[in-house]
Amino acid sequence: MQHGKDQQIQTIRLSVAGMSCAGCVASVEGALAAVPGVSDASVNFAEHTALVHGTVSPARLIAAVVQAGYQAAELRNEGDEADKQAVELAYYHRLIRQTLVAAALGMPLMIDGMVGGLLPAMMAGVVGQVTWLVIGLLTLAVMIYSGGHFYTGAWKALRNHQANMDTLIAMGTGAAWLYSMVVTISPGSVPTLAHHAYFEAATVIIALINFGSALELRARGKTSEAIRRLLGLQARTARVVRDGRELDVAIAEVGLDEILRVRPGERIAVDGVIIDGSSSIDESMLTGEPLPVAKKRGDTVVGGTINGPGSFLFRAQRIGSDTVLAQIIAMVRQAQSTKPAIARLADRISAVFVPGVLILAIITFLLWINLGPEPRLGYALVTMMTVLIIACPCALGLATPMSVMVGVGKAAEHGILIRNGESLQRAGQIDVVVLDKTGTVTAGRPQLTALRPLPGVDEIQLLQWAASIEAGSEHPLAAAILDAARQRHISVPEARNFSAVAGHGVAAQVDGHEVLLGNLRLMQSRGVDGSAVAGMIDALAAEAQTAMVLAVNGSVRGVLAVSDPVKPDAAAAVARMHARGLKVVMLTGDNRATAAAVARQVGIDEVIAEVLPQHKAAEVSALQARGQVVAMVGDGINDAPALAQADVGFAIGSGTDIAIESADVTLMRSSLHGVIDAIEISQATLRNIRQNLFGAFIYNVLGIPVAAGVLFPFTGLLLNPMLAGAAMAMSSLTVVSNANRLRLFRSSGGR
């Protein structure tokens, strides 16, 4: 949200739907004005928009409009990303300028230090002293121009009882400059052997660190590539139909309930429902599903997807931040900001890191000044400065977030939405994958495959009873029976007193007869003898068909069987899980034989069948009790408790019609390959985080003692503070670059 310097007042535009008369205007305006913080609200009836000034969040305004009985969404210009890139580019150029200015002074000084003789010696009388005084003042000017941000940052942090990277750089370079100035102005106050100025160190360190930040900024830009790609899916304009005329408007101008025209090959602007025309739509950018999806009147379309050869009109139902694409972007952004538990130690350390380094630097100084060789003061100063400069809290702080940014983004590109860092970490540790059967292993669109009336019963009559009793049911099996009845043009008499018995079947009255349709357990519980069809049921089940017994007035009349074809790529996905050493279990309410037949087709290791929906979570927890990390894959609605019980819940969607944020991991594509892709990405990300954390720890654990001079007694070697500056700049760059390697991730499925 953008507003002026006077931060409190902001302007929010809302699209309001459902206003049918001028009277509604007053009611919406009243509702908006009543929200605390609103200074004025005006509704434009013709445009169906509301303009609100005040200090209030759009969410509160929308809630007020909804409360008043209308719909609303915020109209907003999504210029954020371009703005962000411009800001980052300007910042990059500033860092480069600061680097060049610091290097312009530092490099000649450094060369003079190495070669010697270019500048008069400091002790060479008045000329020498004045020359170095000028150099000292020039250094100060460079420090202010190129490194001013370190000093202000350090000072402000200090005042807040905090310390950060700025503190270390400011102290290191500040000490170097102060000491050098003392030597220059009053050489007598320092032992002759310690007569050395470190102006070049101060400037070169500042140049190197600014240069490192510039490179890091570039590398960081790549870590948010996934978000940029998703943002790039948003259409910029839309063709709206207003007063019978079609006109192109900016996407932010599209209101709720507006009619939009989509021509062949165009990107769909917002979410809505087709009201005229048909087409096939490429949704691969959101779901990863390669085949275009056929859409006709009444079907939903999603913003960001691309229309195929047809043309159609649709009504906008979700705009702005409410669209599926906007929600995906918001979820990915949110997930990118979270950290897995593995990062906790690093976080705890980085919280006390800088004050800890300050303490180490002082101890180093005191050790050298007391125990070091002459010139003690020179050694003490250089080692203290090097400790301050080499310590890099950034590498530690960056290690996890950068990998999570790239990993979560990479997953999103594969149509996998990972909720947070915790889910990512657990997904990388899975031992057992539990698959729900219907809709997960199978296509979830069952068909009637057998109609077996007992002798003396008419086939049509059997289907008619079944269709009547199932007409009120929302079960997928019911849809298969109703489809079959429709295809055979069978009339379906109305059923009364319908009742569903979860996991068993349904009961109702049809034309005054008591009709039951369900499994043998339903028959037993209602005192119906099902022995005549038991053999038939077993035979059908062996072929992975779900058999249902139909009984009328207490006696069995026949069996209907429905089967749900296995997804074509399920076996390949399960094979990939096996290749990763995962155990694959199928959990289903179906009978044992049907389930076993499906399991055989796909290569599943273990089948837990005849589980009532409410017991699925208990089965998952039984697997967990064996000490295994369990993933549950299901449809996110019926399987919600089991998904929640599992260590990682995977909600498997079908296309863009998914409930985002219903599980730890949401798969936008209905293929099981998504499960193993998610596991592989998580494992790769965790590996990357471990490398980064290890690198950052080792860097500091080795670098700080070396900087303090532990090698000196043995080898006579001391680290140059400028080298420390280069190492420090490289360490965070290395972490970011390593995280960027994750962008090259390829799943073992080869897609």
């Binding site: 949200m1 507003h3 902001q10 200090t55 969410a59 202000t152 350090a154 905090q162 950034c394 977030p401």
Partner: protein, 123 residues
């Protein structure tokens, strides 16, 4: 003699660092929950960095980011599972649900920017 002075100064400095970073509790700036709390994000610190709010009331924070460095880009309330991307030179609103009494840290991704929300019984 000189060495003694330096050693003494060094030890004093050590004590000062420990006292300043661990010993003193920074002053908490108490804010009413009824109006948005403005937090400036600049020069490596949140200002104010220690905010006191009453328990049981939703809190709205307006983050004004002045620092172009990517470090300042995100603000994360790790304990609450809330985060936001901060746009440069403009306000980003972060709304927190009513909170129980306690301390809630908010940081940048790298934990260099650090702030704390102290939630106390009705003030």
């Amino acid at each position: 003699m000189m060495l003694w002075v330096i050693n003494l100064l060094g030890l004093l400095l050590l004590g000062l660092i420990i006292w300043w970073f661990w010993g003193v509790r920074p002053q908490v700036k108490a804010m009413p929950a009824t109006q948005p709390i403005e937090v400036l994000v600049a020069d490596g610190v949140y200002v104010p960095a220690f905010i006191g709010v009453p328990a049981g009331q939703g809190v709205t924070l307006h983050f004004l980011r002045k620092d172009p460095s990517p470090c300042a880009e995100k603000v994360i309330f790790a304990g609450l599972g809330i985060s936001a991307d901060l746009a440069l030179n403009s306000h980003t609103e972060v709304t927190l649900p009513p909170l129980a009494v306690g301390e809630y840290e908010f940081t940048c991704q790298m934990q260099m920017y650090r702030g704390r929300l102290k939630v106390t019984q009705e003030m």
